[in-house]
């Protein structure tokens, strides 16, 4: 199992996919925080919950999304390029292969979440200072943002892996994840908020303390999102073990 995990980590390190996703994510985080730092009306950026939700919270949102894409691609890229075949020849116990991918995705997701929320926190302070707006976030808010963002991204990476293992094809997997995050979730949150706060994207946000008035508490969110991740990777394992690779 340790051997499998080391192989999975080398897979992530030996192509430009992970580094490229990380770079794109950081560029988007900085862009999103800077633009919102200028665009959001003054009165919405005074309270700590406003600064967290409307400004630095973009670190959590983008960290979870990109971690989900990385987790999904750790499976779909193997199918796309056919490397799943030699991988399963060497390791025919498919459950172990998915378990190793799950551990590697958790680790990579943590890195993505830490990087995205840290970048957002730093950029947010600079954006607020440039606008002459005092920072009302305290140390506890930052800890929740960074630790919660790392946890959310790690769990999202596992959800992505599970979806990728079920769908297998890269393009439908990525389109599906993006459509869910960018479109379906907003519909749910706007039109059925009682249901929407249990959606995985919303749970990621509430783990970091975003939207404290409408979403669930961070600890509850972490538990529910962890259950989703376990369900997704469980279903992905069953699909991987049962279905042929031709």
């Amino acid at each position: 199992m340790r051997a499998q995990l080391r192989a999975e980590v080398l897979k992530l390190r030996s192509t430009r996919t992970a580094v490229g996703l990380l770079g794109a994510m950081l560029a988007l985080v900085v862009t999103a925080v800077v633009l919102h730092g200028y665009g959001v009306p003054q009165e919405n950026l005074e309270a700590p919950s406003g600064q967290l939700t409307l400004l630095v919270g973009w670190g959590e949102v983008l960290g979870a999304l990109f971690a989900g894409l990385l987790g999904a691609m750790s499976f779909t890229e193997e199918v796309r390029h056919g490397t799943i075949r030699p991988a399963l020849l060497v390791s025919p116990r498919r459950g172990r292969v998915v378990a190793a991918k799950c551990s590697a995705s958790l680790l990579a997701g943590l890195v993505f979440g830490l990087a995205a929320t840290s970048a957002a926190a730093v950029t947010g302070r600079i954006a607020l200072a440039a606008r002459g707006q005092p920072v009302t976030l305290d140390g506890g808010d930052y800890v929740l943002l960074v630790a919660g963002g790392a946890a959310a991204a790690a769990l999202w990476a596992v959800i992505g892996l599970g979806v990728g293992a079920m769908v297998r094809s890269q393009v439908p997997t990525i389109v599906g994840l993006l459509a869910w995050v960018l479109f379906v979730e907003s519909l749910l949150v706007d039109n059925a908020p009682g249901l929407g706060r249990f959606a995985p994207g919303a749970l990621g946000q509430s783990i970091s303390g975003l939207h404290p008035d409408t979403l669930l508490a961070p600890a509850v969110s972490a538990i529910v999102l962890a259950l989703y991740a376990a369900g997704a990777v469980g279903a992905g394992t069953v699909a991987t073990v049962r279905r042929d690779f031709v």
């Binding site: 051997a3 030996s14 192509t15 996919t17 390029h81 056919g82 030699p86 399963l88």
Partner: protein
Amino acid sequence: MTMNHVTKRFGEVVAVDDVSFSLQPGTVTGFLGPNGAGKTTTLRLLVGLAEPASGEALVFGHRYAALDQPVHQVGAVLESNDFHPGRSGRDHLRILALAGEVPASRVDEVLELVALGPAATNRVKTFSLGMRQRLGLAAALLGEPHLLMLDEPANGLDPAGVRWLRAFLRSFAEGGGTVLVSSHVLAEVAQTVDRVVIIDRGHLVADAALDDLAGRGQTLEDAYVELTADIAS
């Protein structure tokens, strides 16, 4: 390696229909058949990538998935391009060596063996088809297996490469190893193999020594065309 009344269906299509044959140690067996005959499916069944609907596909007496350390027993090349284009050839092998718990020093040994050497540090997208074939073979040899299963291994090799492969497979079999090699190039097969297994539309149509099949004043090509035409008529 044994196929024991193996049948595999994809939906309504019967890809492999009640096929039985086995390989003998120390021989090179050519695995022939028209496109779509079921060769690829048979190889996938043998290495556990696909599950038979009925029957058993066994290697060394076990289902592939039940082998303790398959890399030390079976080496297979199923496709000529199962690589990530952005990863170096050497990293491809390092990953498989890690997962198979093969010493890292084997990576350079097999690269030397297939004459890929320093080029292997480049990304696979820069490789020619012949180099990809060599890299795939290097991966199959990582664990020093006793059984090799190769799908069209000569495809894309230059004449020197084909000659090298032929000599390599012969010496592998003379050392007690077993080789199953699928191919469409009958002239090449006739020079390399001891035995021939032919399937057509999922059915086994021949399992014989090369001399028995291609003797009687017939070439292997004559025998092949005759056998694979039979079912159509």
